[in-house]
């Protein structure tokens, strides 16, 4: 009797499981839902660039999509990777193995980005990086499930350095953040400068998170360079520009060029200090009606205008969901193939295409910070000076060292 009972229970369970999976298979979704994970720095130095704003952006994309895809709910989870690659990896592993997360987005910081992309690829899960800069994500460490969406250390210097050199800034001195990101940024910028006939007269490697840049600025100032190139990010960039202004370096004729500047950095500097600064960006909220409309909705929820990274999270999530709909499944290979077919166009991206190496190549913009007189509101900070077409902004896919690109 007992045995029969156990047998019956087993049979019933198996039937139920089979029924559920048949149901899931019918609408193409594994585990009966699509789950998106936003993995970002929620408490550290990049919090304002991606962080909680990225979660809001992803949620907006899900809501705008209707909350459901292929008849099932879309779920959102988020976590703080604390800028640590090991923490990020263990969260990603748990999300993929236990919680069946189908796509990871965010991953600001290059070390985090590379670690998570490697892990997600091994587990056949799509990882769309919106926050990290390193070109390695789509070069030697590229993967068939990794997508690099917003910017990279190749695209950033192109517009900025070109504009500066063409305006007479031939001699460059670099203040470089002393880690992989900074060096890669400096190398890529120096390449552009030299191609256009400029020269690099010197450089100094400043430790990450330096409080006081005045000593390095003094070296830059006495080097006789026309342009002081800042191959750093975040607080380091803000402090260097602020202190250059304080020491009257800009007033005495040298120009500052920030290689990676976010909207939040301009906000931190204030227009009085930052005015005239030129940099390359993937997005500015006030560029056209489309971007204004979306950004205003974001502002109403977040209380700040979106950075290019936060806008990128929305765009990436939206296109991922569209790809699921078009493919009729959330199977990673099918969705990735679908994404590769799409031409990406929305308020964030123009002429976007996801290449075989995972690079989303798209138009970039050269921006210039407004003077306090030109600015009409709190967030009226930038002028878009010119558009850098996708084929100039990014490494052409034919030249990629990624093994996925057929030579």
């Amino acid at each position: 009797m007992k045995k029969t009972m156990i047998g019956a229970v087993c049979a019933a369970t198996l039937t139920a499981v089979a029924a559920t999976s048949a149901l899931a298979a019918a609408d193409g979704l594994s585990n009966g839902s699509v789950k998106i994970g936003v993995l970002s720095d929620m408490s550290g130095v990049y919090k304002a660039i991606e962080g909680p704003g990225a979660v809001i952006a992803a949620q907006m994309a899900i809501d705008d999509f209707g909350g459901q895809v292929l008849g099932e709910d879309i779920e959102l989870v988020s976590a703080d990777h604390q800028l640590k690659a090991d923490v990020a990896s263990s969260i990603a592993r748990r999300w993929i193995d236990r919680d069946h997360v189908d796509m990871l987005v965010g991953m600001d910081n290059s070390a985090v980005g590379l670690a998570v992309q490697g892990l997600a690829s091994a587990k056949k899960t799509i990882a769309i990086n919106t926050g990290a800069g390193t070109v390695e994500l789509t070069e030697s460490q590229c993967s068939s499930y990794g997508i690099h969406y917003v910017y990279d250390t190749y695209a950033l210097p192109v517009g900025t350095a070109t504009a500066m050199v063409q305006n007479g800034g031939k001699k460059w001195f670099f203040i470089t953040a002393d880690y992989a990101f900074g060096h890669s940024l400096q190398d890529n910028t120096a390449r552009v400068v030299k191609e256009l006939g400029g020269e690099v007269v010197g450089s100094v490697n400043a430790p990450l998170s330096t409080n006081d840049f005045s000593s390095y600025l003094l070296q830059a100032s006495s080097s006789g360079a026309d342009v002081i190139g800042l191959a750093n990010a975040g607080g380091d960039t803000v402090n260097s520009i602020k202190q250059a202004n304080e020491f009257g370096i800009v007033a005495r004729g040298q120009k500052m060029a920030g290689m990676l500047v976010f909207l939040t950095d301009v906000k931190a500097l204030g227009l009085d200090t930052a005015k005239g600064l030129q940099f390359t960006t993937a997005f500015y909220w006030d560029r056209n009606d489309e971007s204004r409309e979306w950004s205003q909705r974001f502002f109403d929820k977040h209380g700040a205008m979106p950075t290019m990274v936060q806008a990128g999270v929305y765009s990436a999530t939206m296109h991922y969901l569209e790809a699921i709909k078009a493919a009729g499944t959330d199977d990673a290979d099918a969705v990735r193939a679908e994404l590769g077919q799409m031409e990406l166009n929305d308020f964030f991206v123009k002429n976007g295409k996801i290449e075989a190496n995972g690079l989303m190549s798209h138009d970039m913009y050269l921006a210039k910070v407004k003077t306090p007189d030109q600015s009409k509101s709190d967030w009226d900070l930038l002028d878009i000076v010119s558009t850098i077409p996708a084929e100039k902004a990014y490494i052409p896919v034919a030249e990629s060292s990624c093994s996925l690109v057929k030579q």
């Binding site: 330096t210 409080n211 006081d212 000593s215 003094l218 803000v238 939040t264 950095d265 204030g270």
Partner: protein, 300 residues
């Protein structure tokens, strides 16, 4: 490197050194008298900068008087007072309960307070920092020192900090008030027998140490961006300064702070990659040779 460049780097080193000196002085006073390792010191420095910023840019609109702004000179007085009050409440209602236990409890409590302050402020303010726009007109611009162009404001910050540091040293080491403070540290029971309210004296001393941190914060606001993490970045270095100078030594804190600022400034010019590590390297050497610190007295 020519003599002008060395002089220039010396000035820059000095302008970092004064912040180390002010912060480590506050820490030394607190440790000397209360035996508390105040890990919230960096957060209180940050709080000082935020009081100045909020007083200038935010408080008017909050209170419904959009035109009200607390200028820089007022901030120099108000911010240390506000933060000192916060510190004294912290001492009275939190730290006091822990005096009977090991140092480590005070350290953990203050570390927790620091994290809470950083967390709360980073919830409301830009983590990359916010510009403090209230530098007075008279301190803007640069002066030509002959060997370099130097911002007027930094010159002012150096002079004011040095005056405050040595006035504090004089008060503690050379006046009768200081004598009572030092006696309270040696033998609180005996001092109490003279009719002095030792617990209140401890609260006020803690408030004073904290006020020094807040003053440093106000002085830092126009130079660095006001950010919730500005104290966390600095506090580790400042603790190294205190350890090198000798825990609790007043003069040690001032002299070591200024000297290490200079050492760091010169390292930035000579071998930049070591700039952030040089102080810790010195700390290791000093601890190996003189565990009590350069100015500390070994406990006998």
């Amino acid at each position: 490197m020519n003599i002008d460049a060395i002089l220039a780097q010396t000035m820059l080193g000095l302008s970092q050194g004064v912040f180390y000196a002010m912060l480590s002085l506050g820490l030394a006073i607190i440790f000397g008298l209360l035996n508390v390792i105040n890990f919230a010191h960096g957060a209180l420095y940050m709080l000082g900068a935020f009081v100045a910023l909020i007083g200038y840019s935010y408080i008017g609109p909050w209170l419904g008087y959009p035109d009200f702004q607390m200028g820089f000179w007022w901030a120099l007085i108000v911010a240390p007072l506000v933060v000192a009050c916060f510190g004294m409440l912290m001492e009275r209602f939190m730290l006091r309960r822990l005096y009977q236990f090991d140092h480590i409890y005070g350290l953990l409590l203050t570390f927790g307070v620091a994290l809470v302050l950083q967390g709360v402020l980073s919830n409301y303010f830009n983590i990359s920092g916010t510009a403090y726009p209230a530098t007075p007109e008279s301190l803007r611009g640069i002066v030509n020192l002959g060997f370099m162009y130097f911002p007027k404001y930094r010159l002012f910050a150096i002079v004011l900090s040095v005056i405050v540091c040595f006035a504090t040293w004089y008060m503690i080491e050379r006046t009768s008030l200081g004598a009572v403070l030092r006696a309270g540290q040696e033998n609180p029971k005996l001092v109490e027998a003279f009719g002095i309210n030792v617990p209140r004296m401890i609260t006020l001393t803690f408030g004073f140490g904290v006020a020094l941190a807040a003053l440093a914060g106000v002085l830092a606001a126009p130079i660095y961006s006001v950010s919730p993490l500005m104290g966390a970045d600095l506090i580790i270095t400042v603790f190294a300064v205190v350890v090198i100078g000798g825990m609790g030594s007043i003069l040690g804190a001032i002299v070591t702070g200024l000297t290490l600022g200079l050492v760091q400034g010169l390292t930035q010019a000579l071998y930049p990659p070591a700039a952030n590590t040089v102080i810790f390297f010195i700390m290791v050497v000093v601890l190996l040779i003189r565990p009590a610190g350069l100015f500390g007295k070994a406990e006998g």
